[in-house]
Amino acid sequence: MSAERRRTHIWHAIIRNAFAPSNAVAQATWLNCFARAIPGYVDNPILENPRNLHEAFYGKVGCGSLDFTCEYRIQSDRAQFDFFVSSLSSPSWHSQYGIDWNVFACGASELEVDRDPPCQDEVDEVLRGLISHPRSHLHVFSDRARHEIRLGTGLHAPFLFLFQVRFQLCIDDARRQQEMDRLKQVFNLNWLTRERVISPQTLFGL
């Protein structure tokens, strides 16, 4: 089996087991853990707890020191994320769409499953493409120092996207690395062998 196929399998396994809460109860639990995990990870957070209105979950998350807020709305047939950047009023503001070919990404549907055992490096590479450095991404800040904020544009699962936004809201390299190390512990080879559902508490380290 090609490395690409193995990684595609890992990619979907992670989404299926950690970022696809199956019903309203699971989704509410996931979002509650998401909100509770923000203050410990994001500096100077902007946060509006999730609510449930007309079968849609909505809330707000951001980082005050990055002038960045994301308002989300997730429902069964659609999800939307609105970004607010107060630097918009600055003449120097621009956004940039970037594609890094060396990062793994896969399409919306899973390829045929092959059971050749993957290695942890492959899991790590997939996590990079899902969380820390998606292949296709948007930089919304013009400052050189903010180039590391990458909003993944090729991610199809709303809860994954939200998690990815959370990760990007912290630009402290050390804390990012710590978070990635934690995720590598969660999504380890042992887990991949059994592919058990990851609880939101585990996912967010609560």
Partner: protein, 621 residues
């Protein structure tokens, strides 16, 4: 307090204490002052020292640097503001006796004659360690308070005896160690000259001045020599240079500095060199930019207004206008105007409350360089001398456009003198933030929902029912996030003389998870407010929401020159319906209904149900 090595480190301008805090955030520009302190510490000369500066200038941090960085640790530490159980003659004498007994027990020094455990019927076991704990701890209940008050009365009646005993213990400790003791007295700065509390403390300070003691004092204590302890050599802590304030703020921003760097010179200018004022301005600016999405110029105006309201909002009839105008014109303050016997002179009051900022200590002691706090001046005059850059040009445009907009005035200050501006300020309507419940939550969320910070917010209200709904709403949101429990303390319900004890005995959360929601009496008495003010630093580890009626707000601000340094002040809008819609509260409840509930979530549900009931009643639905 938890600190982030590379991230944002905001707080209300608290003293840095730990080695970690000092290594991350300390700006090492006070080498002269540190050198003098180390020299004093290392010398074997029996000499006291006054370490004095204005509120928020960094005195406590300097003492921490001396202790932690330089390794000059005190043999005996007194924290009169935080630890004395009662600000009375018996309370102060009892406190130092207790601390000295602790040291004597620790060093196996025989405690000289004077008071004995048998003089304390409360000491059931009759041992000194019990007595020491009794004299140095806050009472945990009214009964304990009554017992301690009786002890304090007995001590006050025999103050001379206790004084001699304390002196004998100090000498015995010195004899045992074979050298002079280094004694640190923190928190003397919280006691204003001429007040009854200060009068009670003076004899204790006079005794300690006979030993090798450093006193942390306000700059107003450096003027005059009415008391023996005041005649010690003086070390003045001056405001920072603006470039140092910029460096300090850059360190606070960590890797997030890029988006704020361009405005820091203006913030430093408005800080007047006071690091706490600078940090608070930056935090307010950051909030205005990040959460309120204001343009840069408006964000600076917002920050200036907020910090001015929090720190300096004046009782306008009390403005010492002539003094402020004279200082603004001359650039100095004559020492004779500050010195006085008894209560603070108007000039000393202006210095104590940071309306005037003193500069570096002059050679000629009679004329101290001084200026108006920049937050009291016309924005145009403050920003005039800022360097030319595109960012500063924007700030100057803002200043010209709004004149003294930070103060909410509607006149063009650009063509007015400072004296005229002051005159108009004194007749203007307050511009303090009036927020509805949702806005209030937005504003306090950064502090309330922070894993690292413990902030204190003072909220003034008119309508008790709106206040109660706001309390439930904030408590519900916090509980939903796992910040729990929210402890309600109603000081109105406690008997008048026991409110301080009621408050301190309720502050029991050692893990730092609780949020305390404190309702002040109506009206709060000056005595209580004064005591809370001097206790300011006791509140540092706690997340707190203080609630007060709007009509009682002025007296709180007036009586809290110290405590207001650690508060953000907001006024709650009277109306409830404009901000909270039943369907939104229902959406909160619908979300909670889906969750498996732990205790905090049950609490959140209960609080939101209460809010929904009130909102529906108001709407008649």
């Amino acid at each position: 307090m938890k600190r982030q090595p590379n991230g944002v480190n905001f707080d209300e301008g608290l003293a840095l204490q730990t080695a970690e805090e000092l290594s991350l955030l300390y700006v090492d520009v006070r080498s002269e002052e540190i050198g003098r302190l180390v020299e004093w510490y290392n010398s074997e000369e029996r000499e006291a020292l006054l370490l004095g500066g204005q509120i928020g200038v960094g005195k406590s941090t300097l003492l921490s640097a001396l202790t932690v960085r330089e390794g000059c640790k005190p043999d005996v530490l007194f924290a009169f503001d935080r630890e004395t159980p009662a600000f009375s003659p018996g309370g102060f004498w009892g406190y130092i006796l207790g601390r000295l007994v602790e040291s004597a027990l620790h060093d196996a020094v025989v405690i000289p004659n004077g008071f004995a455990p048998s003089d304390f019927p409360e000491a059931e076991t009759g041992d000194w360690s019990f007595v020491a704990r009794l004299l140095t701890s806050f009472p945990k209940s009214m009964a304990e308070n009554d017992r301690l008050s009786a002890v304090h009365s007995r001590i006050a009646e025999r103050a001379g005896l206790v004084g001699r005993q304390c002196k004998a213990i100090l000498r015995a400790l010195e004899e045992k160690s074979g050298r002079l003791l280094r004694i640190f007295c923190e928190g003397v700065d919280k006691f204003v000259p001429g007040t009854p509390d200060m009068q009670s403390l003076v004899p204790v300070l006079n005794l300690l001045a006979e030993f090798k003691t450093v006193f942390e004092v306000n700059v107003v204590h450096l003027f005059g020599d009415e008391w023996k302890w005041q005649r010690a050599p003086r070390l003045y802590v001056s405001p920072f240079e603006e470039s140092t304030i910029v460096d300090l703020l850059l360190q606070r921003l960590g890797v997030y500095e890029a988006g704020r760097r361009d405005v820091l010179p203006a913030i430093a200018r408005f800080s007047g060199g006071n690091p706490r004022q600078g940090l608070r301005l930056l935090m307010a600016y950051d909030y205005a930019r990040g959460a309120k999405r204001k343009p840069k110029e408006d964000a600076l105006g917002y920050a200036c207004q907020r910090v001015r309201d929090d720190y300096l909002r004046l009782s306008f009839d009390a403005i010492p206008r002539e003094i402020l105008e004279t200082v603004d014109r001359d650039g100095f303050l004559k020492s004779g105007m500050v010195v006085g016997v008894g209560p603070l002179t108007p000039a000393a009051n202006a210095v104590y409350k940071n309306w005037l900022i003193l500069g570096r200590k002059p050679e000629d002691d009679d004329k101290w360089p001084a200026r108006l706090n920049p937050l009291l001046k016309s924005a145009v005059l403050v920003t005039d001398a800022l360097p030319d850059s595109p960012e500063m040009a924007a700030i100057k445009r803002w200043a010209k456009r709004y004149g003294v907009s930070p103060y909410g005035l509607d006149f063009d200050a650009s063509r007015k003198s400072s004296a005229e501006v002051l005159s108009e300020i004194s007749s203007s309507f307050s511009s303090m933030d009036v927020l509805n419940i949702v806005e209030l939550l937005d504003t306090v969320a950064a502090a309330l929902f922070s894993a690292d910070r413990c902030d204190r917010v003072l909220i003034a209200y008119r309508e008790p029912s709106v206040m109660e709904a706001a309390r439930d709403y904030l408590a519900g949101k916090a509980s939903e996030m796992g910040f729990w429990p929210v402890v309600s303390i109603d000081l109105e319900a406690a008997p008048a003389g026991e409110r301080e004890v009621a408050l301190f005995s309720a502050l029991s959360d050692q893990k730092g998870h609780a949020i305390y929601s404190i309702l002040l009496p109506q009206p709060p008495d000056k005595l209580l407010l004064g005591q809370l003010d001097r206790r300011r630093d006791v509140f540092v580890p706690y997340e707190m929401l203080w609630w007060v009626r709007v009509e009682d707000l002025p007296i709180c601000l007036q009586e809290w020159p110290q405590l207001r340094q650690l508060l953000s002040v907001y006024i709650l809008e009277d109306g409830l319906l404009g901000s909270l819609k039943p369907e939104e509260v229902q959406a909160d409840l619908d979300y909670l209904a889906l969750l498996e509930k732990d205790e905090p979530l049950h609490e959140a549900e209960r609080r939101f149900q209460q809010v929904l009931k009130v909102v529906r009643e108001r709407r008649g639905t």
